[in-house]
Symmetry: C2
Subunit: 413 residues, 2 copies
């Protein structure tokens, strides 16, 4: 079972937006056992949409398109599909009344452009989009499936989860795709490859090995496509435990969830609470946690203490400590975490204080220098990390490191 994913919209071809839709779709299709053969981005162009869909249908059982379903003239996906499948349009009353209700509740006129959103090709099945105004569409054509979804990420996600994936599961008998990742740290990619060469060469041919290097780790992914999931998972377990024997000191873990998801689960299970005190990360740690459903069970409060006064007045950091050691210092990071814990009454608190850049760096504390601390019921730990040179990178890495520091403390507790 092969699939292709096509995103439609000039904004991708001119580099105006980052495409995260196809990341989600690819992951979900893989989890279902459908191999993604190709991903494409094309423009809002009738001919290009038609040609691309024809070509990908040659080698795909399923083609998923996103984008181009808005109410305005630049959006042409729906009419192009109707034309391609020689289908007249019909007016869907259920969609129309849903769109009207939705817009009226937001104080928006229900005009003929919105009414036109309820026009769908007769030959398709409507995938009801309860979160937006553009319906999804499911076409069957010569035994193949074509799905058209809106490009708005959360609308697409809900339609995939509620409609597309269940239908694909029911429609096809699918074999499994298995991806498993082992994380190594401390060996460069080429050295690692030499060390595990014999193991790699002896892998069964249906297991595909990929090296995924990044600055702090090299991840090794074993993949198998369209196999019996259970027996292949067992074989991968066996292969990875072989590998652990070859490089025991370099294996640091297996990839599952993100670090904040792991911490989220640990805090929830243990009934412990959390607060944050952020300077350079500016609310990014708080928003990573609060983005997850159920965060209100353990997340009590966060403070973004950007100014020195806020550090002193809200968190109770001693102004003389700031004066003596600077705002970016171990002492201030510790007092921030302890202050957050105190004012919120939480069990744990995370703090960050650093130089996100682009300005504010010095010889001694260059851009990217971040002190972070975790206060626990029994003690406080603090570390300093170099988090890069680009502002976004510094915020991102510092948030990640600080959450990992809390994770370490939770493991020890």
């Amino acid at each position: 079972m092969k699939a292709s994913i096509i995103t439609i919209g000039d904004e991708i071809l001119i580099g105006q937006i980052v495409d995260t839709n196809t990341v989600f779709i690819a992951r979900e299709l893989n989890a279902l056992g459908i191999v993604v053969a190709e991903k494409l981005s094309i423009g809002d162009d009738r001919q290009q949409i038609t040609d691309t869909l024809r070509r990908t249908l040659d080698f795909s059982d399923v083609v998923i398109l996103t984008g181009g379903l808005g109410p305005t003239k630049d959006d042409i996906t729906k009419h192009t599909l109707a034309e391609m499948f020689h289908s007249p349009m019909r007016f869907d009353e259920q969609v129309a009344s849903h769109v009207e209700r939705m817009l009226t509740s937001r104080g928006i006129d229900f005009n003929e452009l919105n009414r036109a959103q309820a026009l769908v090709p007769e030959c398709c099945e409507v995938l009801f989009n309860r979160h937006g105004t553009a319906p999804g569409m499911w076409f069957e054509h010569e035994g193949k499936i074509i799905v058209s979804l809106p490009g708005v990420p959360f609308e697409m996600k809900h339609l995939m989860e509620d409609e597309v994936l269940p239908r694909l599961k029911q429609r096809f008998t699918l074999r499994a795709i298995v991806h498993r990742t082992l994380i190594t740290s401390g060996l460069a990619e080429s050295m690692l490859a030499k060390r595990i060469e014999k193991w790699e060469d002896a892998l069964p041919s249906y297991l595909k090995l990929a090296y995924l290097p990044n600055p702090s780790a090299v991840r090794l992914r074993l993949s198998a496509y369209e196999v019996d999931g259970e027996s292949v998972s067992k074989e991968i377990d066996r292969q990875f435990s072989e590998l652990e024997k070859i490089i025991p000191e370099y294996v640091v873990g297996y990839e599952t969830a993100s670090m904040e998801e792991i911490v989220h689960r640990m805090l929830t299970e243990r009934g412990k609470t959390l607060s944050t005190a952020e300077s350079c990360t500016g609310g990014s740690i708080a928003s990573r946690f609060t983005a997850m459903a159920g965060a209100s069970q353990y997340f009590l409060a966060g403070v973004v203490s950007y100014s020195n006064e806020a550090k002193a007045d809200i968190l109770g950091v001693d102004p003389s400590t700031i004066e003596r050691y600077g705002a970016v210092s171990e002492q201030v990071a510790r007092q921030m975490a302890e202050g957050a814990r105190r004012i919120s009454g939480s069990d744990y608190a995370i703090s960050t204080t650093g130089i996100a850049g682009p300005t504010g760096g010095s010889e001694e504390k260059p851009v990217g220098t971040v002190w972070m601390a975790v206060a626990t019921p029994t003690h406080t730990v603090a570390v300093c990390k170099q988090c890069g040179t680009d502002r976004g990178q510094v915020i991102n890495r510092a948030s990640g490191f600080a959450i990992a520091l809390l994770h370490d403390e939770l493991l020890k507790a």
Copy 2:
């Protein structure tokens, strides 16, 4: 002049990474005047690489490939290109000594895998990669250009800037691509489209209009491809000033600035300061502002008051108000904003309190109900917005609406 961009690597097809490389490449090619016709992601597969490159060369003058150049066995791009162009390999001494120096300085063995990175097809020109071990490659084939770059983002970026873009500029006589964006706020997409219908219909045919809606604004982009840059820019200026006459009260700015960038600029220029008090948005507003360089000039402090105790203890919200009206209420939103202003000493403060979901909703206050307020030096305004049904959407929309509310107050001040 048309280009295609191909990323090679299974990690994209299985949804393991978000592709930002092609965003950068697409933007740079557009700026140079080269139209990106298609973007593709394919696997580390010899046949697929060959077929895709052949197909895209049919309609592209330039094809840029990234990925698959590492030292390990899963990376096959280089040998596939050599095979395709019937070229033997040669050993590049300069690359070899650079790789050896680079690895030695990091304490990494220079082994035969690294040595093999200095093997390049004879028919290509090496693009020297001073930031990594895999050289870039420049091929000319039947009057077309094929460029192969490493997939590591900063290595790719430096090679694009230092080698690829200057060569393309020199090699071709390029016309301009112009993209200009006008930002509107306060009209839903479909209402806006009706209001400007006549203007849209009268646009010259070489100007392409796109609607780019998000919760706080609808951006209108005019694009023209392969034109005389200067005269088309003037025409776009003329068209946009026409448009301003039609909807004067809804035009808030130009170019791709987000609402927070516009507010960032207004606060900076006026020397005014800001604080935030967030409940349901969980730090998302603070992190949007602090993500921008220079935010420390005006952003004093933010509080994520997730628990009722935090609202009372940190922000000074009256517990009896919470008890009487509930945490999601106009009264609490007002007291939160005023509290943030008071404890931080800022000129302005934004607050949000709502139900992000998926649980916690009621008949009277369903998921997505958000009260938000802005406190100014003279008064406080509060509004209630329905921000959707999905947790991520609610956080995102509520943040956007709240920032737009501050923007309205800044306009009036």
